[in-house]
Symmetry: C2
Subunit: 237 residues, 2 copies
Amino acid sequence: MMTLVVKALLFDVQGTATDFHSTVCGEAGRLGAGRHPGVDWADVVRRWRAGYFTALEAARSRSSGWVSVHSVYRDALEAVLHECGITGFSDAEREELTLAWQRLVPWRDVVPGLTRLKSAFTLATLSNADVSAVINISKLAGLPWDAIFAAEMAGVFKPDPAIYRMAATYLGLDPADIMMVASHKYDIRAAARLGFRTAFVARPLEFGVDGEADVAYSDEFDVNASDFLDLAGQLGC
Amino acid sequence: MMTLVVKALLFDVQGTATDFHSTVCGEAGRLGAGRHPGVDWADVVRRWRAGYFTALEAARSRSSGWVSVHSVYRDALEAVLHECGITGFSDAEREELTLAWQRLVPWRDVVPGLTRLKSAFTLATLSNADVSAVINISKLAGLPWDAIFAAEMAGVFKPDPAIYRMAATYLGLDPADIMMVASHKYDIRAAARLGFRTAFVARPLEFGVDGEADVAYSDEFDVNASDFLDLAGQLGC
């Protein structure tokens, strides 16, 4: 158990709290069933997620208006379907498939872990997904957040410092009283540079069984945890 | 039961969901006990709330930076204590008393009403209070919001149109799919002008037993309700 004292925890959602890989693979397989029997959907989803990251980075370097993450995923899907030679999806099916990112299923430890953590800490999301997507995911899965914070509210995506500072301002807390929780090291490292506490949560299946998720613990983080129940235990809940 | 179909409900917090009058009166009486036996705390709290409204209006007409609502209440308290000749409170006690606005107790119907409504609608706050205050109030009282939206996120206070538009954007919904719920007509009228649905909830004790709350139902609103349970019933929950 840590002697570390924080008042609030901020959570990444896509990957850290939810299993986007199997959710989106399942939906793609269901929609494509019978028409694209030879497709490796796991590979398609990995390429799709990579296309999303590339688009976010491009958005960060532009100073033009806000783009919804839904539209980023929608555009990235066009590219990946073209790249993989998958032509059978109608526009309505492409839209439906993109909405799978708003129905992500939580990892099994997430609801019981958050429920334990909620008794001791303020829990909020800090997600690059659209506010409405985080609300939809959370409502469907019963994720017991005290507040939802997302990139859309800051006008910039993680790891831009402004989004972490926004969360601290809204919580009315100093960064030292807040712990950023994520399975992505770039995310918690960005928070750490601003004085936030950090928890790394290993999600070995983030990119599926053949994916190469970085699950190596590191002393640079205040906590390294195998899941949210382990995190709760290490934080004394 | 209404045939009206909406997807999300937005709630005012101070007055509509919570009983600020008895919460803050109780705290003022407790802190002032024995030193100011003749003080009419109900009157002090009504003046304090009025001072807050005056300060918000002044803030709306300025274009300078954001002021926290906590500091607005803190400054307004100085003025009202001076006005009422109450000199016995230390700075620490004035700070503690101001924090009573972050521990507001919900009206008795609010938790069961929201719990029923949550099964059918997305529920979010739309409050002029600071984000941290709404989080603190909600966590203490167990208010089951799906999201917390507040003036601080829009950079303007209700009834500025920008704050209602912000909520619609974050929800990813058209105003016609959203109902604004409040005991204050200026608030729901501002939302109605932008195409939102409206629910007026009567809170006869908002300013205490001698207060003069406007509780008159009106056909101009889509729903008139006596409390959140009545609202849930009228919306078919």
